[in-house]
Symmetry: C2
Subunit: 250 residues, 2 copies
């Protein structure tokens, strides 16, 4: 279904390399509908291919239009990107807020798109007036001109971040599980027994604080089951205290 995507329209893009980089970024974030209005060097442009880095389909399916008006006819909502604030009465959104709006419209099976201007001077006011609102990417004020593909990257990233069900805000890789608290307690008991024996904890007054600090080091490390076993092996090894039964078991 075409309706659940974001159309990217480049108006008078100049460099084939940038169009290729745009295609790559679009596909990274699951977008496929690329439209070109009067690309300076014609189309297709062989210079786009290397930068697409495998997103060839996006380039092959890109549609070319003689005017912005013809490129946007089927869209229900259209935002323009600009790093200037033209002297027009237009609402300006951050990419995040703009995409919130476009996504909620797309989810009701309506077509949405974003317009990007060419490398040299961005969108003309005439093109901006075809759009309902502006997207301005927050930058430092005295160096605000973004590379064309970089602007597309940020818009496509916000689209994907807000639509994908990827919920890996925080997870751990590897196949083992986090250690149980019991494993940690046994590690601490083992370590503290050896530190006691070797005299590290001989200052009676400081003992409680030292033990707490040492435990905190390992608490912060979010140890896995395997890592606890490894640490206990290290303690045994450092103390030359490996029991014959444990040697057999390993």
């Amino acid at each position: 279904m075409d309706e659940n995507t974001l159309t990217i329209i480049l108006v008078e893009p100049q460099l084939g390399q940038n169009i290729g980089a745009v295609a790559r970024a679009m596909l990274n974030f699951g977008l496929t509908d690329l439209r070109l209005v009067r690309p300076r060097d014609g189309w297709p442009n062989p210079e786009a291919l290397p930068l697409a880095a495998g997103a060839d389909k996006i380039l092959e399916n890109a549609k070319v239009y003689p005017s912005t008006l013809e490129a946007i006819g089927d869209l229900n909502r259209l935002f323009a990107t600009s790093n200037r604030t033209p002297d027009m009465i237009k609402t300006i959104y951050t990419p995040k807020l703009a995409l919130q709006q476009l996504i909620s419209t797309a989810q009701h099976n309506q077509k949405v798109g974003v317009l990007f201007g060419g490398e040299r001077c961005g969108l003309k006011n005439e093109d901006i007036s075809l759009c309902e609102a502006l997207i301005k990417i927050p930058t430092i004020s005295n160096f605000s001109s973004l590379n064309l593909a970089h602007a597309v990257v940020l818009v496509a990233y916000e689209w994907f971040a807000q639509t994908s069900s990827t919920s890996f805000e925080f997870f751990r890789t590897g196949r083992t599980r986090l250690a149980r608290r019991e494993d940690l307690s046994m590690l601490f008991a083992h370590l503290e027994k050896e530190l006691e024996r070797t005299g590290f904890l001989r200052h009676h007054k400081k003992r409680a604080t030292m033990v707490r600090n040492i435990r905190n080091i390992f608490q912060r490390a979010h140890l896995t089951e395997q890592e606890v076993r490894t640490l206990r092996g290290i303690i045994r090894s450092l103390t030359g205290n490996q029991l014959p039964s444990q040697k057999k078991a390993s």
Copy 2:
């Protein structure tokens, strides 16, 4: 103060163009500390300059190191970017969450950085093991390799979005103010009077609904004071009903 920035470290970057694009993206988002570990084509690299698009200072001040270890010595926290999930016990964050953490550390005057691998195959496991956690940019699963500069763009953008006090989540451009509700009421009264007179509202049963629908059109438009004056001028013009006194006043 150097402490309140994010250091960008590129490990074995290949293309000068990408290094230039990285410099541009860094400066767009207020970052200045670029470090290069064994850049393939040596340094300085004239191919970086055009893509930097004016961010020449970032390139001039870039420091080159023979090893990752030497490049990161002064940093207090370091995250690695990767689009693979290496078989290591490492926490993986989205750019958003990773930057939240790095920013809160930087705000306590400690130095933070992010490591990016080369174009061909990203960071080696050896480099990743020097970092406390991974940043994985959410992408579609079967086309997940981002352009090097694009990855830097996204990290730098999240840094800036979370640190800058730019609060333009929603504002309007242009110098006029939004119309007062009273101005709108007068516009509606004017329009409805004329629609009554010209017969548009002659269906008595439908009248209330029609009036409501017309009002809603203009409510949604968030009209400014000037736009209300313009619309009233349009009504007068369309009805050929321009009063001599108003002609004088305009």
